[in-house]
């Protein structure tokens, strides 16, 4: 089974992100009243906990958030532009999936471990 097949199509988070992304007011509220937005869309407490603070991509994936939407959640949280590998959304992935990330970009200029060692 591929990762994309792990999605829970009925998870309220997956519907919420669709609407938050396209609504400037909801986008603004994401960083001022995130919990309130989540409650309006009927998210469970497990989902809300996963979305508070600095969302962890692995936890989001484990509860059934669609993988396409996770970078968007991270963009909402950390900023919209410049999705290079140094964007906080991407460093969040390196932290959440260290083995998978190391297998691809270990030892490169983007490798967080290299940055620490350097």
């Amino acid at each position: 089974m591929g990762n994309v097949e792990r999605v829970d199509k009925t998870l309220p988070t997956n519907e919420m992100v669709y609407y938050v992304r396209k609504d400037p007011e909801l986008r603004k509220r994401w960083n001022t009243d995130r919990e309130g937005v989540c409650r309006e869309f009927g998210l469970s407490q497990i989902e809300i906990d996963a979305l508070m603070g600095e969302p962890n991509p692995k936890i989001l994936m484990d509860i059934g958030v669609h993988q396409y939407l996770i970078p968007h959640i991270l963009r909402l949280t950390y900023g919209e532009t410049g999705m290079t590998n140094t964007h906080p959304a991407l460093t969040a992935y390196q932290k959440a999936f260290p083995d998978e990330s190391k297998a691809a970009i270990g030892g490169s200029k983007w490798d967080l471990a290299e940055e620490k060692n350097g």
């Binding site: 591929g2 990762n3 994309v4 097949e5 999605v7 199509k9 009925t10 997956n14 519907e15 669709y18 609407y19 992304r21 396209k22 400037p24 986008r27 991509p57 692995k58 994936m61 669609h66 993988q67 396409y68 939407l69 996770i70 970078p71 963009r75 919209e80 532009t81 410049g82 999705m83 290079t84 590998n85 991407l90 992935y93 390196q94 999936f97 998978e100 990330s101 297998a103 691809a104 970009i105 490169s108 983007w110």
Partner: protein
């Protein structure tokens, strides 16, 4: 009747617009040259319409209502969608002429032939349509008909299914009463796993194998060997976008010409570009 005068396929990684210059110069040059060859291919064939098949990244439809195929029937298309513009480094929207007569004909003729498609008058564009539009039609000389495929959520159409849809679309387009000269563009792939655990992963063995298949031109072999599972293994949720290439392949005959291949960790995606010299 309208003629299909060409067919080609390209990657649409957002890095090709959003953070293009983050990649090494040789990778940038490869992309620039490949797109340039594709524009020349369309000019040589005097094409006036691009039908771009891509996948919708959960932009136009919420996850509780995902059609397998959606046709953009607007008279003008504007992109990228808000929220995607800064991501794609397109602070100024592009505006491209649509072809509502052809697009609406496709919707209705497909329905009569048993293929259900959704349609939108105001289709929103992310990287899937924006990348080929900005690179292949920068001066808005060509009309655009965008058609999206669900590659996001199960059940994702299989290669065999999209190939049959490609054959049906070819018949429909060629029965449209006009002098239009149409180029089909498949947009998606190559190996990548957008937003998945292996977000940085690229499987160049798979990519080379797939491009060799395209160059071989044996459609039955493509359908037999390029399975959903194999694409998922090469990068879940992203590599399977190659069904857009397979759909377009159904309107071609013989080998594709591979223009180039780039394995770019900067763009978090392998990029490839092909054109088919012969179309049916």
């Amino acid at each position: 009747m309208a003629k299909i005068v060409g067919a080609m396929a390209t990657t649409h990684t957002p890095g090709l617009l959003g953070w293009f210059k983050d990649a090494p110069e040789d990778q940038q040059e490869a992309a620039i040259n490949a797109f340039s060859k594709m524009r020349a291919y369309m000019a040589d064939r005097d094409a006036n319409v691009m039908i771009v098949f891509s996948n919708d990244h959960l932009l136009n439809w919420p996850i509780n209502n995902l059609p397998s195929y959606t046709v953009g029937i607007g008279s003008e298309h504007v992109g990228p969608a808000d929220w995607y513009d800064s991501w794609l480094n397109q602070e100024e929207k592009y505006r491209v002429a649509g072809h509502p007569e052809l697009a609406r004909y496709i919707v209705n003729a497909c329905a009569k032939k048993g293929l259900s498609t959704a349609h939108l008058r105001d289709m929103k564009f992310d990287d899937g349509i924006s990348v080929p539009t900005c690179w292949l039609n920068p001066d808005n000389k060509m009309k655009l008909v965008p058609i999206s495929i669900n590659a996001a959520c199960p059940p994702i159409p299989t290669p065999a299914e999209v190939y049959e849809v490609g054959k049906l679309m070819r018949e429909v387009i060629q029965s449209f009463p006009s002098d239009d000269r149409v180029v089909l563009v498949g947009s998606g792939g190559l190996s990548h796993e957008p937003g998945g655990p292996r977000y940085f992963h690229i499987d160049d063995d798979f990519d080379q194998w797939f491009l060799d298949l395209m160059a071989e031109g044996d459609h039955e072999k493509v359908l037999r060997e390029c399975t959903f599972e194999k694409m998922e293994e090469a990068g879940s949720g992203g590599t399977v976008e190659l069904i857009a290439w397979i759909l377009v392949m159904a309107a071609t005959k013989g080998p594709a010409t591979v223009l180039d291949y780039v394995k770019s960790y900067s763009w978090r995606c392998a990029s490839g570009w092909v054109v088919w010299p012969k179309v049916l």
